[in-house]
């Protein structure tokens, strides 16, 4: 698990660099899609609701977004962690979908 989390942190660091320096040149209808938010959402949607990888991805993705933005550190962390918990809560209580573990 720590290896998985370490890889997640590395993935989000690289993704943030790509997001802030490369993807900013490709706006879609004037909006630059936030790839970190998309990946965090996907991990949390596809992961087993009992897993910790979703929260780790939200923490690391949020941290790197905070570092490479003008916002105070903690702004994106809180948003993404809240999102991750909400998704986990909804999936655990109300939804039954095939998760990565089950697949």
């Amino acid at each position: 698990m720590p290896k998985k989390i370490l890889l997640t942190v590395l993935l989000f660091y690289i993704l943030t660099l790509i997001q802030t320096s490369f993807l900013v040149h490709f706006p879609i209808l004037g909006v630059i899609p936030n790839s970190i938010l998309i990946v965090v959402l996907l991990i949390n949607l596809l992961e087993d609701p009992k897993g910790n990888l979703g929260i780790a991805s939200a923490l690391s993705g949020g941290f790197f977004l905070d570092v490479f933005s003008q916002k105070p550190i903690g702004f994106y962390i809180l948003i993404l962690v809240f999102l991750a918990f909400s998704i986990k809560f909804i999936i655990k209580r109300h939804v039954r979908i095939p998760t990565i573990k089950n697949i």
Binding site: S21, F22, G30, F68
Partner: protein, 262 residues
């Protein structure tokens, strides 16, 4: 005794809260640390991204190129005529300055910087010059065509943040058109700018150039900002507003210039 889930949750929240406070107290150091070793990679990514986006832009706009070339030729002729006229005026101005014994600095003292990244949510850029290069907060940033880009915000050891003129925090006094009508430009975010506080009795039109007045701290006068795109008049307001098309586009450049002295 094992702590209950509620207690554990409360403890995690407190630890996170303290961690956020600590990280924000040393925000500049934390950000500076990451910027220092990320800058070289980000510079490469920025250049590659710009190159690829140019390529695709060219492909999409191929059909308009012929028409655009014709328009540009026409515009070029107009500008050549304008240059001749301005050269004549410059010569006159030089004679007058010498006659009046004025000390006019023709150029600014500039520091060149490369764009490293862009904040995804706000109109700000990160450049590769910082405290070590003599950069301090509040300095003016211009493009190679001497159009205003923004002001320096936070400064780190090797990097600085540029608050673009389209940032919501940005307010700059300007003059519009040949009559030099005074107003203030306000950033709206997402590269949008509006000019505000323009008296209703003054007439502005689309295409009028917007320049700095030089009244703001650290911002020299007569720097190009953009041109009037659309005029917004409200009957109840004593002032009119105008949407401004900024000359500077961060997606189309790699380098910026910081005015350290003028």
């Amino acid at each position: 005794m094992k702590p209950t889930i509620k207690r554990r949750g409360f403890l995690i929240i407190i630890i996170l809260f303290l961690l956020f406070i600590l990280l924000n107290l040393y925000k500049d150091n934390v950000k500076g640390f990451f910027y220092d070793f990320s800058s070289p990679i980000q510079k490469i990514l920025w250049q590659k991204g710009r190159g690829i986006s140019f390529f695709f832009q060219g492909l999409f706009e191929m059909k308009n190129l012929k028409e655009e070339a014709e328009n540009l030729k026409l515009r070029n002729q107009e500008l050549l005529a304008e240059i001749d006229r301005l050269k004549e005026m410059e010569r006159e101005n030089q004679y007058l300055s010498e006659a009046l014994n004025l000390q006019i600095n023709k150029d600014f003292k500039l520091v060149m910087a490369q764009i490293v990244s862009k904040d995804t949510s706000q109109d700000s850029l990160l450049i590769d010059k910082g405290q070590r290069d003599g950069i301090s907060g509040g300095l003016t940033v211009i493009s190679s065509s001497k159009s205003l880009v923004g002001k320096i915000g936070s400064v780190y050891k090797n990097n600085s943040e540029v608050i673009l003129i389209s940032n919501k925090k940005s307010n700059i006094s300007v003059k519009i058109g040949g009559e030099e009508i005074n107003g203030i430009i306000k950033g709206q975010g997402n590269y949008k700018i509006i000019a505000d506080l323009i008296p209703l009795d003054k007439e502005i039109k689309a295409g009028d150039q917007v320049l700095t007045t030089g009244r703001d701290e650290n911002i020299p006068g007569n720097l190009l900002i953009g041109q009037v795109d659309k005029i917004l008049k409200k009957d109840i307001s004593p002032y009119q507003q105008a949407e401004i098309l900024p000359f500077f586009d961060p997606g189309k450049t790699d380098f910026l210039f910081i005015i350290t002295n003028y």
